[in-house]
Amino acid sequence: MKGFGRFRQPSVIPGFGLTLGFTITYFSLIILVPITALVLRSTGLGWNGFWAAALDPRVLASLRTSFLTALIAAGINVVFGTLIAWVLVRYRFPGRRIFDAMVDLPFALPTAVAGIALTAIYAPNGFVGQWVAPLGLRIAYTPIGITIAMIFIGLPFVVRTIQPILEEASKEVEEASATLGASRLQTISRVLLPSLTPAILTGFALAFARAVGEYGSVIFIAGNIPFVSEIAPLLIVIRLEEFNYAGAAVIATVMLAISFLMLFVINLIQAWSRRRYGYGS
């Protein structure tokens, strides 16, 4: 095996040192050093100080709000995201291309714009809010509002992870299943859905991870009441405004640790799906 034991395999193409050197330097300066500063600052409190700050009731409540609403939003996104991906790939209807392009709107629309727009719609005097207000239902300034904002920003992750897999799924497998006597529902639930599972899980994890960290689209509609509708990223900002830098760093470190765990899980799902189904999204 050529190049075994060496850092890189030989190549006639120039520029390896330059491009890799630049990549690693730039990455270190922009990402690595600042993140290290964050972790160092949070450990500056010592073991007991760290846990005292992390287990503060208000911090725990904000983490619970963030994770619970993100979980619900990602769950709703999985159902409707799968449905939308299915409809966009399998059916032909007028305006399909426009709707297909619209799926990416949450990627392109600045989060603050989404935030004030959603608040305008769901506030008690808003377009939707005025219809649910007489029913005694409040959407804006409650955890329901937070969930709606998280549905908005998470939807494209689910649709765009499932869509390419559905496009590549061969119709022959479904035909074979039908030939062998399966009903359409059986084919979908026993043949199609299992092969989509890794993509659905990945989409769920991506939407969830994004929703947990989301700030801009959530804070306007959330109401930001401590212990009720205060999300963890907002509490970081509040700690900063109190000049409690270490407190902010602790919440951030906890959230970072959880995001890395999520990233790890996503990688595991993809490795598993590559082995099992021969694709990784």
């Binding site: 850092f7 890189r8 190549s11 006639v12 193409i13 120039p14 520029g15 330059l18 491009t19 630049f22 990549t23 730039y26 990455f27 922009i30 990402i31 600042p34 993140i35 500063a37 964050l38 600052r41 409707f80 449905l83 939308i84 059916y91 032909r92 291309r97 297909d100 392009a101 619209m102 799926v103 709107l105 990627f107 392109a108 629309l109 600045p110 603050a112 714009v113 004030i116 377009f127 939707v128 908005f152 494209p156 765009r160 390419p164 039908a178 991506l206 960290g213 989301e214 700030y215 801009g216 306007f220 990223p233 907002l234 970081i236 900063l240 830098y245 970072l256 995001s259 999520m262 990233l263």
Partner: protein, 289 residues
């Protein structure tokens, strides 16, 4: 995306009944209308609520104009830097085999899994009071935090992966054959890059730049943390939208927001056009972000 023939109208074992099809289409479209189209319409209707005159006037306020200028400036610095990084990283990763490559690819995606607030916080901790670097730089008269450099840094952080993650799979697919041919015919390394590689990746690069720019101009959380929100000096467009909104200047907030919404729409149109026209020359076709 291959065009598929219209689904046959008669019942087929690999098709759902017509009523099921339409029910699913309707459910999907209603969901999208409610969650995607409605917010977009709300931005424009709120912006124009007090008439076109008030709309135009609010966009010409000094605060709005300075926010627009700052946003353009920040994007003009952050996007090119991330383009250079994206090209360098994808060259190193796609054209060479080396140890730890998979790990490096994962690291590049890291900023996507970090909350925007944390992306800003890391710079506050690095340059703020109580840090080593901040006071030292300040003694030389260099302000990072609550100034333009901090905003640029936070923007670079959140838009870091966009160009690289589009170019890496694209250049990996293209392999090294073209470059080897050019080199063996006597081209220098730079000539090979400018005349062979760059034309090969130009649409993918444009695609990455488009997404990078949209995020750079629209970033809120990370920038909010480092900017200090000094009126007329460190407020980008999204921050100025928040400021107007919190001051109950609805028209001004939504007018400025409508410009950002227009930017999003233009981005989506160009992105779709690229996917439609040059789909074969993109890595991201059919993929998200």
């Amino acid at each position: 995306m291959a065009a598929r023939p219209h689904a046959p109208r008669r019942a087929s074992p690999t098709n759902e009944p017509l009523w099921v099809r339409w029910a699913l289409i309707l459910a999907g479209l209603v969901f999208m209308a409610l969650f995607l189209v409605l917010p977009l319409l709300a931005v424009f209707s709120e912006a124009l609520r007090q008439g076109i005159g008030a709309y135009v006037q609010s966009l010409q306020s000094p605060d709005a104009l300075s926010a627009i200028r700052l946003t353009l400036l920040v994007a003009a610095i952050a996007v090119p830097l991330n383009v250079v990084f994206g090209i360098a990283a994808s060259w190193a990763i796609a054209k060479f085999e080396f140890k730890g490559k998979a790990f490096l690819i994962t690291l590049i995606d890291l900023p996507f899994s970090v909350s925007p607030v944390i992306s800003g916080l890391v710079y506050v901790l690095l340059f703020g009071t109580g840090s080593v670097l901040g006071p030292w730089l300040k003694s030389y008269g260099i302000e990072i935090l609550f100034a333009v450099p901090g905003i640029v840094l936070a923007t670079i952080f959140v838009t870091f992966p966009f160009v690289a993650r589009e170019l890496i799979p694209l250049m990996q697919d293209q392999g090294t054959g073209d470059e080897e041919a050019a080199l063996s015919l006597g081209a220098s390394g730079w000539q090979t890059f400018w005349r062979v590689t760059l034309p090969n990746i130009k649409w993918g690069l444009l695609y990455g730049v488009l997404l990078c720019n949209a995020r750079a101009m629209g970033e809120f959380g990370a920038v909010a943390v480092v900017s200090g929100k000094i009126r007329g000096q460190t407020t980008t467009m999204p921050l100025q939208v928040e400021m107007f909104y919190n001051e109950y200047q609805g028209t001004a907030a939504f007018a400025l927001a409508s410009l950002l919404a227009l930017l999003a729409l233009v981005t989506l149109v160009l992105k779709s056009a690229l996917e439609w026209r040059f789909g074969d020359e993109l890595a991201a076709t059919g993929r998200g972000h």
